[in-house]
């Protein structure tokens, strides 16, 4: 038999070659990894999103030093130390023995029986649960950045606010001096539970702040939802989901909003504050009035201003709630954009 088929697949197929091709095809590089999108607009769950992030960061570094992007780029910070807590966590393709280094650009993965702990450069500690895939984006001083593809992490950060952040397919979680758990599923949806301090989210201009004891869902394509306390009624939580996702008829959502307003107690002020900009314009007055019963608005804050989404007024009212000043968040956001 000629080698034509082996050479370029022309001629009569060689049965052995054809059989081997079919058998070995599942081992080839998956189609999803054969291209490298050139624009990074948001965190993605594609396996090589991480390389895209690295490319983007390399470009940013090069731009900052005024040189071409392809010039050799120093690693984006030192390695972090990872300790195996159970099972066989992997750093990249290697199984972690007991302790090892996790370098920028690598995935840290756990299977169903593995857990690991990360020392975040002396500014905090992160534990990851089984079935988690976490990427390390940056460890430069003042900017520890990770990317949670899926799974669960528990972060305890004692660095100044804003130095530690985790991107997921549906949000970027920014530590504001706190402890929290973050879960992301493979569909890109997630949940954050804050146990102390508070965290901030940013997603395509949509902001969310979550205080200790509260939770918030994040939705792929929509970003963070409205924070609330987990022991509210099922109907309360369903109503929040309906508003966040635009689910159900307008009349049903309005009925849900009234239920939220009627069931809300003082601690739910944080939920109402977020709803001020998330409900229909004609519903904002009702939310304003209910929130004002729990946290009187500062004198310069008006119904009209809040109704139109005036950012300064919203920030002033937030500051009255005792979770910390919004000024700091604005400064941090500006620094983030300028990086």
């Amino acid at each position: 038999m000629s080698d034509d088929y082996l050479w370029d697949r022309s001629g009569t197929p060689d049965p052995t070659v054809a059989e081997l091709e079919a058998m070995l095809a599942p081992l080839r590089l998956p189609a999803s990894l054969r291209t490298l999108p050139t624009r990074v607009t948001s965190p993605r769950s594609k396996p090589y999103a991480f390389l895209m992030v690295l490319m983007a960061e390399a470009a940013m570094v090069a731009a900052l030093v005024g040189s071409a992007w392809m010039h050799p780029v120093a690693p984006a910070g030192p390695a972090l130390e990872v300790t195996r807590l159970s099972g066989a966590p992997r750093v990249g393709s290697r199984v972690l023995a007991d302790r090892g280094n996790w370098t920028v650009g690598r995935w840290l993965q756990t299977d169903a029986s593995s857990r690991a702990e990360i020392d975040v450069g002396g500014v905090g500690r992160v534990e990851i649960d089984p079935l988690t895939r976490l990427g390390l984006v940056s460890t430069t001083p003042g900017s520890y950045r990770m990317q949670l593809d899926h799974g669960t992490l528990h972060a305890l950060i004692w660095a100044p606010p804003g130095q530690f952040s985790v991107a997921t397919p549906s949000s970027t979680v920014v530590d504001l001096g706190c402890a929290y758990s973050l879960t992301a599923d493979k569909n890109g949806d997630g949940l954050v539970e804050v146990t102390s301090g508070w965290v901030g989210f940013v997603w395509k201009g949509r902001e969310t702040f979550v205080p200790a004891g509260a939770v918030v869902k994040t939705h792929r394509g929509l970003g963070p939802g409205t924070p609330h306390f987990p022991d509210t009624s099922n109907a309360f939580r369903d109503a929040i989901d309906a508003i966040d996702l635009g689910r159900g008829s307008p009349a049903a959502r309005e009925a849900g909003l009234h239920l939220i307003l009627s069931e809300a107690v003082a601690r739910d002020a944080v939920t109402l504050w977020h709803l001020l900009t998330r409900v229909e314009m004609n519903q904002r007055t009702a939310v304003f009035d209910r929130l004002a019963q729990f946290v009187p608005p500062p004198s310069a804050v008006t119904r009209e201003g809040i109704g139109s989404g005036d950012r300064q007024m919203l920030d002033r009212w937030w500051d009255e709630m005792g979770f910390g000043s919004a000024d700091w968040w604005r400064v941090w956001q500006q620094q983030w954009r300028e990086r």
Partner: protein
Amino acid sequence: MQTMTALARSAPAPTGTGDLVRAAQRGDRDAFATLYSGFARMVHGVLLSRVPHAAAEDLVQDVFIAAMEGLESLREPEAFGGWLCTIARNRATDFLRRSPQMTALPDTLTSLAAGPADRSEALAVLAVIRAMPDAYRETLTLRLVEGMTGPEIAVRTGLTEGSVRVNLHRGMKLLRERLERRPA
């Protein structure tokens, strides 16, 4: 026995590869992405002919990061394919050298995102290919696993078509013999 390195020639690069490399050297990210698309399968194949399947995908990323960082030092843009092959081979060697300290995952374990266990037969055949001489295992992996044709392999790796044809012919002959000798 000729090795792949000894057989390396300056075969014609894919149309525009040199231009793409020069553009990428100037910082053009689109150009680098195009190079990635053109050469990712080759890199994966070269790696897969040396390291366990579970490790190869991660190492592809390593190879392109190394290429990205070192591209400025490439003096002959048309030789990009051969240069990338060398990075991939070195990265695989580095991976295997470190494996005594860092336990390499055996091929019988699938990665978290990998496919079903019925790949075991394919992995067994791949192990046979991996045990073959360098010149054959790379070419056969690119042909039988990655699905590249002989002419494509020549263009991407920088080998002459004659060398690739010889490697495929002799390699396939040896593979048939070794597969026939395998216990049922």
